[in-house]
Point group: C2
Chain length 314, copies 2
């Protein structure tokens, strides 16, 4: 069964890791959010691509959720001597990747090709594709004005109240080479438990990607459990956007794209409402604390998706 | 006595260090070659400014002549994992400087202002000025085609035969703020023992700088001793340009700019020819192996320059 996973940060990376343990590498493609990408110190940094690649390579930092395990901080320590901004923590190993990506992009390689090279270097087997080779940076409109995503997310710690999100230049962007053909061949699309507003929406905003989901079995895993997010600001964003922060809100957000919806056992009471939406629910433990949890969730999502794929999508 | 030193790499940095030990910080300005500056991995790197600043701060690597002492190489080691080019050796401490300089340049600060900030951060007291805030990259025309300076110098190890040098955009460049006023106030200009073709000529090529030397006492220290260079390719360049590699060739190269010329005791036999050129010669030991050598040379150059300044320049 050929599977495409749409993913953003830590939760998406963990489910992608689980899927990668179960599927032949040739059958898994992870399409990754590029809305977080930004330039800092002259370097082009792709936080979600990095989190996905490091996690698939088993090199992620398990404590922070970003960056690499066994990291050293020599450069950052010396940046302090120059009074440089330190809000975005650049580890030495992580910097090496940013440097080489920047060098290749400036030499004219598209991001998808650079990402393929990075995956080969790190020993990542499944295909990892940026949603687009075009830059589509997320802007966060807040009560304190318009902020770049990293300003909002890292520098300001998600403190400003969100009013809306914009994906700059989305109308001019194209899916990266490989995205649409891979979607066409896929039997199942898994929307990982990533932030719907700032991890998945920027992928779905690229023209051509949503039409590519029609006629597919599409399953989403809720990143919200019992009204809270495991990591990140999705629940806070919900409240600020005037939406109750529940798994149901996530299902409603994706609504017409989905056939099935995976929600945590803590949210079992929402099952009738998922059914009322015309979606197949799967109620299971979704929290991924250990690598075994990731594989277990991936196994159940694949089985669920496989059953759905054998019925016909309306 | 207010002194301006024109300097490039290691030899220039060492004499500048010597001058800095003898002069009040307010009386010394070092105007530095920017022809070597280049972009690499998205970072803006200024090798000569860095060598001068590290040396004045007492932080230079005494073995290599470039980079910092007590350097670590974590990032470079991890760059290797990505198959990145390694010909330009980027240390972790050095990288921190390149990152912060790049960040400030991209934020719109001119190079001279960034350099002032770096000097303050490193504790460098004399004024260090880039020759220009404009980029004037040196191109090396060789028997293997046109190369950027760092391609020629570091990547190719000065192997290709030199045909000519070009300083791209020199006609559109202006001296950095402070260069011309400081020259105007100076009693003595010292052309440090740097490569005449690729360290000093790119400074002299900036419109306005050569006219600023007229009516000044100008003393050059030969970087060629007994037909050889202490470090770097000046003698090789001489031969390829069809010029005998001698201290005399250096004196002839600067010719009309100079009042006095400092040559090594090994070249004492050239003294009559220097006199024949209408220049005052000073024959002393010029090799700077130790910090004490730098101070000793600086002391004699200052005394010599002071005597010349008391006579009138034709």
């Amino acid at each position: 069964m050929k599977v495409v996973a749409l993913a953003g940060g830590v939760g998406g990376a963990r489910l992608a890791y689980g899927l990668a343990q179960l599927l032949p590498a040739a059958d898994l493609t992870v399409v990754v959010n590029i809305g977080d990408d930004f330039e800092h110190f002259g370097l082009y940094i792709c936080p979600d691509l990095d989190t996905i690649c490091y996690t698939l390579a088993g090199m992620e930092n398990p404590e922070t959720g970003w960056g690499r395990v066994d990291e050293s901080w020599n450069v950052l320590q010396h940046l302090a001597q120059f009074g440089a901004p330190e809000w975005f923590r650049l580890g030495d190993r992580d910097l090496a990747l940013h440097l080489e990506r920047t060098r290749r992009l400036q030499a004219g390689e598209p991001l998808s090709q650079v990402t393929r090279h990075i995956c080969q270097s790190l020993g990542v087997q499944p295909t990892v594709l940026p949603a687009s080779d075009d830059a589509v940076p997320t802007r966060v409109e807040t009560d304190e004005g318009s902020l770049s995503f990293q300003e909002y997310f890292v520098k300001r710690g998600c403190q400003p109240r969100v009013v809306a999100f914009r994906f700059e230049g989305e109308q001019y962007a194209s899916p990266a080479p490989g995205v649409l053909p891979t979607l066409q061949q896929a039997s199942l699309v898994v929307i990982c438990p990533s932030n719907p507003w700032v991890s998945i929406d920027p992928i779905l905003a690229i023209p051509g990607i949503q039409p590519g989901l029609v006629q597919k079995s599409v399953v989403a895993v809720s990143p919200i459990i019992a009204g809270k997010t495991v990591k990140g600001p999705a629940a806070k964003m919900c409240r600020e956007l005037g939406i109750p922060p529940t798994a149901l809100a996530v299902a409603q957000h994706y609504a017409l794209l989905l056939n099935g919806f995976v929600l945590d056992q803590a949210d079992a009471a929402l099952k009738p409402e998922i059914l009322d939406m015309g979606l197949q629910p799967l109620v299971i433990p979704t929290l991924m604390k250990t690598p075994a949890d990731r594989v277990s969730l991936a196994r159940q999502v694949l089985a669920f998706g496989s059953r759905l794929a054998n019925s016909t999508k309306e």
